[in-house]
């Protein structure tokens, strides 16, 4: 019996039932859990109120091997995933968390959740974030970051090559 089994209780037929818990405040809407376990689905959807990412979690995890459950909790960068016990069987119940997406300043494409951006901003030194000053890279999508970098790198070369030839 592993530690996790001891904590969450064994016995698939009668309760208590092992359930998945996600801390809504801690979860930043990254894709670590959904990439590890396909039953958790992450979708970026566009609604009237702007870009949203919705992650849907199943509540019931009894059929889970403890090993997978442990990996799931370990993969979560913010420790938002934990396991609890429920007296009632959760059955097919699922729950969803929805996240506001940040849009690229240039192309308008939603590219990361706002909470992902906060997580990243907390970990990158301010001078690195301010690189490019007014045209900060932080609120650009991957493709536009590449484009901005390319244009900046090629600026001098383009001027030289636009010079009329004699």
């Amino acid at each position: 019996m592993t530690d996790l089994d001891a904590k969450t209780g064994v016995g698939p037929i009668h309760g208590p039932w092992r359930v998945l818990l996600v801390d809504e405040d801690e979860c930043i809407g990254c894709r670590a859990c959904s990439n590890l376990w396909p039953e958790i689905s992450a979708a970026v959807g566009l609604s009237d109120r702007g870009a949203k990412r919705t992650i849907r979690f199943p509540r019931f995890i009894e059929e889970f091997e403890a090993r997978i459950a442990e990996a799931l909790a370990e993969a979560c960068p913010t420790g938002a995933i934990s396991f609890g016990l429920a007296d009632e069987s959760p059955g097919e119940e699922s729950f969803a968390l929805t996240f506001e997406m940040a849009r690229c300043r240039i192309c308008g494409r939603p590219f990361a959740t706002k909470k992902e951006m906060e997580y990243i901003q907390d970990r990158i030194p301010a001078p690195v974030q301010a690189r490019g000053s007014a045209a900060s890279w932080m609120n650009l999508c991957t493709g536009c970051r590449q484009d901005v970098g390319r244009k900046a790198a090629a600026r001098g070369l383009i001027v030289a090559r636009s010079w009329p030839r004699r």
């Binding site: 990254c30 894709r31 670590a32 990439n35 590890l36 993969a75 960068p77 913010t78 590219f111 990361a112 992902e116 951006m117 997580y119 990243i120 970990r123 990158i124 030194p125 690195v128 690189r131 490019g132 890279w137 650009l140 999508c141 991957t142 493709g143 536009c144 970051r145 590449q146 484009d147 970098g149 390319r150 244009k151 790198a153 090629a154 070369l157 383009i158 090559r161 636009s162 004699r166």
Partner: protein
């Protein structure tokens, strides 16, 4: 060691992309033209204090002096490195693994550099690379000076 680019020499042939794809299955270097007058390859810069390594929660991306290493086995594919890279040089296909230049540690020289027909890609530490770039810039100036003197005489 890192891959540096001599933009004067890049001819937008994308041979580096093909070489990278041959080795890794997906290209981790991307070349695009700018205003039809220049082309710029973009790949991992192997930053000092690399933002991708700072945000990586699982320790798959690591800062090793002048290189940023990537260990696929530790990666959870959370995608935070993609959002943290200032250059847009990290890629995550939902169906696959994080794609980032690892400088091909198992090889002496990365295939993109070996393949580049104009030697626009330079593999070396920053001192070797700047020395080579300076030498090339000086030789270009000397050539254009010689050409202009020749033109005046004619």
């Amino acid at each position: 060691m890192e891959i540096y680019v001599d933009l004067e020499r890049c001819i937008f042939c994308r041979a580096c992309e093909v070489a990278c794809e041959r080795v890794h299955g997906t290209s981790r270097i991307s070349v695009e033209a700018v205003k039809d007058r220049a082309s710029v390859p973009v790949a991992c810069h192997h930053c000092e204090a690399a933002p991708c390594a700072l945000v990586c929660p699982s320790g798959a991306l690591t800062q090793e002096e002048a290189e940023v290493g990537f260990e696929a086995g530790k990666c959870t594919r959370c995608g935070l490195c993609v959002v943290a890279c200032p250059f847009g040089a990290v890629d995550l296909d939902p169906a696959s693994m994080v794609q980032k230049c690892d400088l091909c540690p198992e090889r002496e020289v990365p295939p993109c550099v070996l393949t580049c027909p104009t030697e626009a890609l330079i593999f070396g530490d920053r001192f070797e690379a700047t020395e080579e770039l300076r030498r090339r810039a000086a030789s270009r100036i000397a050539q254009s000076y010689a050409a202009s003197v020749g033109r005046d005489r004619a």
